[in-house]
């Protein structure tokens, strides 16, 4: 019965994440971005938050990272490192007009999901004797994510006027979205942890994470060679 409840909440979360876009910005948003001129702090805030909540690759990575983290302090640390990472490259990327192919960035992000699934299964401990520092990994993932955001925003060629304010709005929006996504994932996983099924299905969950990571990796890579 308890397990059923859990499955139900997972399904609800998946439904809530319906209509997701991997790192994309959907068409309506795109119309807004390309038509916008000047300062638009709040709209950019919203776009940032929406981006985080509808990006399935990011949500999957979040599930992987949070899976075995249970202290609030640790979770907070994770958020901080991720924030530092993506803020640096988002601001730097857009202001320095640096664009990296978003397929490649998304492929790397997909690999980070595989990495975390593998790590959760104990792969690094078994094969390399030690686990890579999760903080460093999250920071590096954040850096790549920021580049992904920067390239996506640049593709839209919006106005340079008010760019910095809009960028900061977008960045804070990403934080908001991140926080909401985190709260949801944390809620579900910490509830699940109280049931024996958590450890029973932890291998399956992490294998599925890896499978999703491999799938997304192939998808982005083919997209890259196809474009």
């Amino acid at each position: 019965m308890k397990f059923l409840k859990f499955v139900l909440s997972i399904t609800l979360l998946l439904l809530a994440a319906g209509g997701v876009y991997a790192h994309g910005v959907d068409e309506d948003t795109q119309t807004f971005l390309s038509g916008n001129s000047g300062v638009a702090f709040v709209p950019f805030l919203y776009i940032g938050a929406k981006h985080m909540l509808t990006g399935y690759d990011h949500l999957l990575f979040l599930v992987g990272v949070i899976f075995f983290l249970y202290r609030p302090k640790e979770v907070l640390l994770y958020v901080s490192f991720f924030t530092i990472g993506h803020s640096v490259t988002l601001l730097f990327g857009v202001l320095a007009d640096m664009a990296i192919n978003s397929y490649l960035i998304d492929a790397i992000i997909a690999l980070s999901i595989v990495y975390k699934g593998f790590d959760n299964l104990g792969g690094f401990q078994r094969f390399f004797g030690h686990q890579p520092n999760t903080k460093a990994a999250v920071l590096i993932f954040g850096l790549f994510h920021g580049f992904g955001l920067a390239s996506k925003l640049q593709e839209l060629s919006f106005d340079r006027e008010g760019l910095l304010v809009n960028l900061i709005g977008f960045n804070i929006g990403v934080e908001f979205g991140q926080f909401i996504a985190l709260a949801l994932v944390l809620f579900i996983i910490s509830n699940w942890r109280r049931y024996p099924s958590f450890l029973k299905f932890s291998t399956l969950t992490n294998t599925l994470l890896m499978a999703a990571g491999f799938l997304l990796f192939g998808y982005q890579l083919v997209g890259y060679f196809n474009s």
């Binding site: 075995f68 249970y70 104990g122 792969g123 401990q125 094969f127 450890l199 491999f214 799938l215």
Partner: protein, 203 residues
Amino acid sequence: MAELAHKILDKKSIINQVAIALLVGGIILISAVLPAEYGIDPLGIGKLTGFSKLYVKDVKTAASGSSQPHKTLLLENVGSGPEVPVPSAVNDPAPATQLEQRADDISVLVPAGKGLEYKVNMLKYGTLRYEWITDSGELYFDFHGEVKGNSNYFDSYTIAYSNNMVGSLVAPFEGPHGWYFKNNSVQDITVKLRLKGQYLLKQ
């Protein structure tokens, strides 16, 4: 970071799990995602399951969507150009009585990749209100008038890309007035026209 204490798998199981993950991810990629997203179907599974159909649909909407870049329209595109002399009939006086007021609903099929004209005959200073909308996608159009008895000269009132247009016209001279529609997409487009004013349908 401190993690929840949990058992970790032995080497063999980890290799197994990675293999399973690769297999599952790979199968979904080849059988569903690639056929649906890119139309790539190496094993024909996409065709068998119907995932490939998603891709074809995608291309169609992209072709008829407004996201395609259009050729830039210039002032030089307006009318028949400076080398065509303006016929003197342009300066003829307006008739004492206009054509009778009428209204029509008309469907015009513009085949994929083709262009065609739809016009009505009007007298000088006759009035027309119009509305048209396509069933899907955009057309290039040139809303223009020709002087009666002279098919070389024409003047453009509006040239644009759209799926929908409304407006009114006072004919500046006697002759056929209407639209040249060009369908640049890969599927046929039907234009539904509504006309109201002083004109005669062309036979």
